[in-house]
């Protein structure tokens, strides 16, 4: 095959996928940015250029700030927690453990369950008085009933727990794959040297898992902005937006109030945040992680 033929062949192979990618990812990402500088078209009135007006509205919108702060807390809590727990799970399941496959199954099961469905179960757990958590609190510790989802102080934490529960098992699989790729001879050598399990973990396992941690943490970042299904069932963003996250707010603005330009502006903020965090992670964590 000549070089020219190679080029044509490659482009032909790529065309279908690239058309779909451009149509539903790159093009909408660009129009999102463009539309954030226009007004929302209504009826006969077409969209007109308004400059930074949407962004000014954004700066003055207390709901936006509240939701943004919520989302940052949500990310800061769920990312490290789910990474830590998933690594612990993987180490346990990788070990010779009694009933290993049952344990693994239980860790992984939340991954295949629809978040919108399990939200119903969690909703019951959190039900004041009647729910499982309150039954244990009241029955065992004699404490009064507590409205977990009805209070601003606890509602976001409740949502975080559901998210961590949902995603840890999925991340465990990646760690498990990485752990099994570590040659057993390293462990043998460390044992001969008399290294403790703790030293072995910090000096050998953890550095070798760095690429996995990078991959998992980027996924966790994305999930912390993407996973909002349970909010629909459990709280609807309330009370007073205390459990609302950025994507949920975008949904409300766009499809409840039909302010699509303002929703586009919010989306721009989310895209910017995602990019900053992802780029930061790449540089912060390990510059030597390359996908060849």
């Amino acid at each position: 095959m000549t070089r020219r033929m190679q080029w044509i062949y490659a482009w032909l192979l790529l065309t279908p996928a690239m058309i779909m990618l451009f149509a539903f990812t790159h093009f909408p990402a660009i129009t999102t940015i463009i539309n954030s500088f226009f007004s929302t078209p209504r009826g006969r009135r077409p969209a007109k250029f308004v400059g930074l007006q949407n962004y000014e509205e954004l700066m003055a919108d207390p709901t936006f700030w509240k939701v943004l702060v919520n989302n940052l807390w949500y990310a800061m809590a769920t990312i490290p927690a789910s990474i830590g727990i998933s690594l612990l799970m993987a180490i346990w399941v990788n070990d010779k453990l009694k009933g290993r496959s049952l344990v693994r199954m239980s860790f992984f099961a939340p991954t295949v369950l629809p978040l919108i469905a399990v939200a119903n179960i969690w909703l019951f757990f959190y039900t004041p008085g009647f729910g499982l958590i309150d039954q244990i609190r009241m029955g065992v510790f004699g404490l009064p009933e507590n409205s977990w989802l009805g209070q601003q102080e606890t509602v976001l934490i409740c949502m975080m727990v559901v998210t961590i529960w949902k995603e840890a098992g999925f991340f465990m699989i990646f760690y498990l794959a990485a752990l099994q790729a570590i040659p057993p001879s390293y462990k043998e050598a460390a044992d001969i040297e008399g290294a403790s399990r703790w030293t072995f973990f910090w000096k050998i396992t953890w550095p070798l898992l760095m690429p996995t941690t990078l991959f998992v943490s980027i996924n966790a970042v994305i999930n912390s902005f993407r996973l909002v299904d349970h909010i629909f069932t459990m709280t609807g963003g309330g009370p007073d937006n205390a459990s609302s996250l950025l994507l949920f707010y975008i949904y409300e603005v766009a499809f409840k109030y039909w302010q699509t330009s303002y929703a586009a502006t919010l989306t721009v903020v989310m895209l910017a945040l995602l990019s900053i965090i992802a780029i930061g992670q790449f540089f912060f964590m390990d510059r030597r992680v390359h996908y060849r």
Partner: protein, 285 residues
Amino acid sequence: MSDLSLSNTVEATRPRQFDFDRALNTFGAWTLAFLWALPLLYAIWTAFHPAAYEANFELFAPLTLENFTKAWSAAPFAQYFLNTTMLVTIILIAQFVLGTLAAYAFARFEFPGSNILFTLVLLQLLVMPDILIVENYKMIRNLGLIDTIVAIGLPYMASGFGIFLLRQTFKTIPRELDEAARVEGAGPLLVLWKVYVPLAIPTYLAYGLVSVSHHWNNFLWPLIITNSVETRPVTVGLSIFAAVDGGVEWSVINAATLMTSGPLLIAFLLFQRQFVQSFMRAGIK
């Protein structure tokens, strides 16, 4: 002398310490596993018992299937299941075809712009259709496809993750196999079909399972784009069913919850080992 006694005590205590460590780890793993299984166990408990036992855990409570029949008749779940099955099938086929072709180009062809295009593909890992709901809705509306099953699938058909995964797999396949087939006169597409695709089956399996479970569970986009029984997937159907104020009992909601997640859960139980192994073999590290 003192050295000797020290090493003796170390020798003596080491096995016992190790056992303690092991026991602690087993206990920890089991506790966490129980906590993780609790929501599911609870859903199974309520779904198979009468409503009176939803917060009352008696070992010999009577079993019943009534909750399932109630849920099944209260909403058109059969239609929802059909919709979801069609949806995940359409998406999977499209992802496999588009992903295979694109991955092949990236893995084995040299052409101008390959780096830029690959970066654009990887960009989708970050900028997912999931968060571009507003503009994608406009796009689907302009195409006149609002409230169709195809519309739910369209944004996901070209998957950056799938292309990336298949490219990595194709790259591990020795070029000699490729060249041997070409010497025999096979064209690039035939080589792809006869050499690359069969050798990448574990990757297809792993990716297929992830894709099916992801789109079976997807909620926000289908919620936005569908508004009739004929197109709604089970997740949206379930949310509407459970959101009917009051009226519906927990036990019935949980039966419906189990029903919607049932097929995936059973598939996962059956293929658990393959699932985990194919993930590992796919070389996602």
